[in-house]
């Protein structure tokens, strides 16, 4: 009798474990409908390079660099915080890297967030996403900033209890001795924009563009 119960428990647990093998490998959540890069037949590192260079046509073109601030320790599952990343430059949408078997949604978003993306110099208004939960997007429209050639910019959030959370664009200097995901690799200089409230852009407006 005991053995029968034991076998039943084993079978049930075996069946529930099967869900691990049937999990979706396609893009899920809100990223499914966003524009994607064409990444057929290239490795993940090459994908990141392609992602970073999508707004410049050649290496000699003058550009500035923007990236997200690693504000939270990387976690997984339902506690995964949505990292800040560029969604739109003026009216041109950023093409995202599609997820693959070994790089899931959270890790992919995190890698894109800490990758410095090149944008043409001049005045631009960026739309960034981040600080929401896994399937709830928070979009923030940054103020127009004059992005100068050869300089690096980071958008850094500030969270304070009982106050409105804001995001500010800073100029920074990169310290290559630290890892990209390390806060210490960013030496903040001066703020180039006023703080704006996180989530000031209605996410229904984004949904209206992409959801069929």
């Amino acid at each position: 009798m005991v053995y029968k119960t034991l076998i039943a428990v084993l079978v049930v647990s075996g069946l529930t474990a099967c869900s691990a093998f049937t999990s979706p490998t396609t893009q899920r959540g809100r990223d499914a409908s966003l524009p994607q890069l064409n990444v057929e037949g290239i490795s993940y590192d090459q994908r990141l390079v392609k992602y970073a260079n999508q707004f410049v046509t050649n290496d000699t073109q003058e550009h500035a660099i923007v990236r997200g601030y690693p504000y939270a320790e990387f976690a997984s599952g339902i506690f995964a915080t949505d990292p800040f990343r560029v969604m739109r430059v003026d009216d041109q949408w950023v093409k995202n890297i599609p997820i693959s078997l070994n790089v899931n949604q959270s890790l992919n978003a995190y890698r894109m967030s800490i990758t410095p993306i090149k944008i043409p110099t001049g005045k631009h208004q960026l739309l960034v996403s981040g600080a929401g939960w896994e399937n709830k997007a928070l979009y923030t429209q940054l103020p127009t900033v004059d992005y100068e050639s050869g300089k690096s910019y980071v958008f850094k959030p500030s969270f304070a209890k009982g106050e409105v959370s804001t995001i500010t664009v800073y100029e920074y200097e990169a310290d290559a001795r630290f890892e990209m995901a390390d806060k210490e690799s960013i030496i903040l200089k001066s703020a180039v924009s006023n703080p704006v409230e996180i989530g000031n852009y209605d996410n229904q407006k984004v949904a209206a563009v992409f959801e069929k």
């Binding site: 310290d175 630290f178 890892e179 390390d182 030496i187």
Partner: protein, 151 residues
């Protein structure tokens, strides 16, 4: 007989509860001042500037010294002061206890003084050879490359 059994139960519950409430607080130091005050200190010179050796050590500590499991955890709080050109690492464990401290101070532009504070336990054995740990840390402070746990 019955009384003995009862006594035994009471005693085991007492022991178990002391374990849960953090007996480790009676062994390891519970504040940074206490850690530094009673620690055995060993120091050495590293032929590298403070920020670079800090960066190398941070990569090693994040990979190899931090752990989290059912029985507890150890996290390393790393602080760098670029203006004063100083850095330190503080190891923290369960029940707000402190496990070690490493401080980096500049001797000149290219040399760093590294000090290792090994905590003096109130109960039980202390670390056998802090100098060995320091030599290990020095090797990792000079190592630039893919993070590994053994050189």
């Amino acid at each position: 007989m019955l009384l003995q059994k009862k006594l035994f139960t009471v005693f085991s519950i007492f022991l178990f509860s002391t374990y849960l409430t953090g007996c480790v607080r009676a062994i390891l130091p519970t504040s940074e001042i206490e850690l530094i005050g009673n620690a055995r200190q060993v120091s050495t010179e590293v032929d590298l500037d403070v920020v670079s050796s800090y960066a190398n050590l941070k990569r090693y500590m994040n990979k190899c010294l931090e752990y989290r499991n059912q029985n507890g955890f150890q996290v390393v709080n790393a602080n760098l002061d670029r203006e004063k050109n100083r850095a330190d690492f503080i190891g923290k464990s369960n029940f707000d206890t402190y496990t070690f401290k490493v401080s980096l101070e500049p001797l000149d532009n290219q040399t760093t003084k590294m000090t290792y504070f090994s905590p003096k336990k109130k109960i039980g054995f202390n670390e056998f050879n802090p100098q060995k740990t320091l030599d290990n840390l020095k090797a990792f402070a000079l190592y630039e490359g893919k993070p590994v746990c053994k050189l």
